[in-house]
């Protein structure tokens, strides 16, 4: 170490000036290379550290995250009825299915489905009549029809997406059309018999 410090500073061949002529150059790394690498590395780290607050400021803020769950009162929903609630800026379909709709959903052979899933896997155990799905078509993000009694519900009694004609059944599974997947399930739990917390 002491030797290195004691030796005269070596410069890279690119260094201008005739009085810098140094027989040592061209013999592998020189001190200037170390300085350049160290400076470059510190600059890169510094820029990264500086950039992060700017990037992170565009992520969901604390007030957005605080509104990330939605409580739904189930009491007023009659059998056969559906409501739409907003959750994280998206529609969530809450549907109280009739026994016939449940039976239809369970009668389908799972193997014939484009995105196989049993009806049981799409509801909470013992809450068979409550189907809760994210109301966004898995094709290109439109909101399917079928929440109102007057809406077209498609050929399988669930939902019908008017954008490109995807049909969903009474379990929210895709049955026909370009949509690749079933309607997604949000995280939710029953906080009581008549209340559900989505998110």
């Amino acid at each position: 170490m002491a030797d290195v410090l004691a030796s005269p500073p070596k410069t890279s061949p690119a260094e201008p000036g005739p009085h810098h002529a140094d027989p040592a150059h061209g013999e592998g790394p020189v001190r200037r290379d170390f300085l350049k690498l160290a400076t470059g590395a510190f600059t890169a780290v510094g820029v990264g550290v500086m950039a992060w607050p700017f990037i992170h400021s565009m992520n969901p803020s604390q007030d957005v995250l605080a509104l990330a769950s939605t409580d739904v009162e189930l009491g007023p929903i009659a059998v056969g009825q559906a409501v739409t609630v907003m959750w994280r800026g998206k529609p969530v379909f809450v549907r109280r299915r009739t026994p016939q709709e449940i039976q239809e959903a369970r009668a389908v052979p799972v193997g014939e489905l484009p995105d196989p899933a049993t009806d049981q896997s799409r509801v909470k155990p013992g809450k068979d009549e409550w189907l809760i799905v994210i109301g966004i078509c898995t094709h290109l993000g439109c909101v399917p029809l079928g929440q109102k009694p007057t809406d077209a519900r498609g050929d399988y009694g669930g939902w019908f997406c008017p954008c490109h004609g995807s049909h969903y059944d009474t379990s929210g599974r895709v049955r026909r059309g370009p949509a690749p997947l079933n309607l997604a399930l949000p995280d939710y739990s029953f906080t009581s018999d008549t209340r559900v917390r989505v998110g």
Partner: protein, 437 residues
């Protein structure tokens, strides 16, 4: 076929492509068609720069860095800000509390404005002290004054956006300055407001202009730099470089010196942002705007105080406005008001002291601008205002008729290499007139 066609093109049409010296083939391909790399090499690499800069010559680069920081923080802040009287204050508080790193971005932006003015004031003081405004750099200086006025407008409108008490009443007072104009005054004020008081339309247009003007500043800065690179930089001796001995290439010497300056600048800036973020602000601006109650003691941001003092020094409404505007406009005429051919104050034994007095006087104006409009501050403001203008209108035009400048050094290299920069050298007896660059 395609190749031979290409060949002929290269031979017959050479002047259409830039004769690039860049080694890397891809970069050369670009550089031949759009010689930005050559330009950067020419203007920031080998650019011959006086060898004797002191640290005052860092502040142009620092102002550029600050401008970049202000635009970067401003762009992300505007993504979270709501330009509406009902929402603006709360949206700023939301930035402070809820947005990730919002506190940092806002404090960096607010204190960045202060840093911008500190840097710019020092940059301008440098030009006044070393005569950088004199021929052939008059246009360079005037573009700088334009930049300063644009900065003031941008800063003023930015300060209105949080819609606190100082925002609202600052906007009211400053826009009302225009009501002093005879006949059309009140109509102009109504036009500026888009209503009959400072209100939502005013806030909306201020936000729009606050986003627009920084990019105008970028454009004028570009012209400022173009003009600089035609005349070349002035230097502490105020004499033009004559030979290669007098200059050094911009890179690596001044890129390195500027980088060092930027690090020191960022340390000061960081101290302000992280340890005293509200030191230069006013607590009343954390009270939401209330059009029915004016704060007891209303002051502008610190960087406007000297001009605010000039405004209040005159008991006449129109007179105050005219003097305040005149304090800025007079800077445009400075290159022709100063009759001395000697640039640097180092060689002007009398003017130097009167200029330092002018500097102190400017601080005095800033001090009384922050005090209530009562005696003795009004009297001090009046005396200081008189001196501010006397320096430009009396001292600079006439003093050089009587002042005998110190002998100028033969050359920059001569002065630098004889160790004592600017000391009398056995060369000429009295000052020679400046040669044109």
């Amino acid at each position: 076929m395609a190749d031979s066609h290409h060949e002929t093109n290269e031979h017959n049409d050479v002047r259409r492509l830039h004769d690039s010296k860049v080694a890397n083939p891809l970069l050369r391909w670009i550089d031949q068609r759009m010689p930005v790399i050559s330009m950067i090499q020419l203007e920031y690499g080998s650019f011959p720069t006086p060898r004797n800069f002191n640290y005052f010559w860092n502040f142009g680069a620092l102002a550029m860095v600050t401008l970049a920081i202000m635009i970067a923080t401003g762009v992300v802040l505007s993504m979270q800000y709501a330009a509406h009287t009902m929402l603006a204050f709360d949206s700023v508080e939301r930035i402070m509390r809820d947005v990730n790193y919002g506190w940092l971005l806002r404090y960096a932006h607010a204190n960045g404005a202060s840093m911008f003015f500190i840097v710019t004031y020092i940059h301008m003081w440098r030009s006044l002290h070393y005569g950088s405004y004199k021929s052939p750099r008059e246009l360079l200086w005037m573009l700088g004054v334009v930049l300063f006025i644009l900065m003031m407008a941008t800063a003023f409108m930015g300060y209105v956006l949080p819609w606190g008490q100082m925002s609202f009443w600052g906007a009211t007072v400053i826009t009302n300055l225009f009501s002093a104009l005879p006949v059309v005054g009140q109509s102009i004020v109504t036009w500026l407001w888009g209503g009959f008081s400072v209100d939502n339309p005013t806030l909306n247009r201020f936000f729009s202009l606050h986003y627009l003007l920084p990019f105008v500043i970028v454009g004028v800065t570009f012209l400022h730099v173009v003009a600089l690179h035609i005349t070349g930089s002035n230097n502490p001796l105020g004499i033009e470089p004559k030979t290669k001995q007098d200059t050094i290439p911009f890179h690596p010497y001044y890129t390195m010196k500027d980088s060092f300056g930027i690090v020191v600048f960022l340390i000061v800036y960081a101290v302000l942002v992280f340890f005293m973020p509200n030191y230069l602000g006013h607590p009343d601006n954390y009270i939401p705007a209330n059009p029915l109650v004016t704060p007891a003691h209303i002051v502008p941001e610190w960087y406007f105080l000297p001009f605010y003092a000039i405004l209040r020094a005159v008991p006449d409404k129109l007179g105050g406005v005219v003097l305040m505007g005149g304090a800025l406009v007079i800077l445009f005429f400075l290159p022709w008001l100063d009759s001395s051919p000697v640039r640097s104050m180092r060689f002007r034994p009398i003017t130097r002291w009167l200029f330092l007095l002018w500097t102190v006087n400017f601080f005095v104006l800033g001090y009384v601008g922050g005090k209530p409009a009562e005696q003795p501050y009004i009297l001090i403001a009046q005396i200081s205002t008189a001196y501010y203008f006397a320096y430009f209108l009396v001292i600079l035009p006439f003093l050089s008729k009587f002042e005998r400048p110190l002998p100028l050094p033969e050359s920059i290299a001569h002065a630098v290499l004889s160790r004592r920069g600017g000391g009398p050298l056995p060369a000429g007896a009295t000052a020679k007139p400046m040669e044109k660059a």
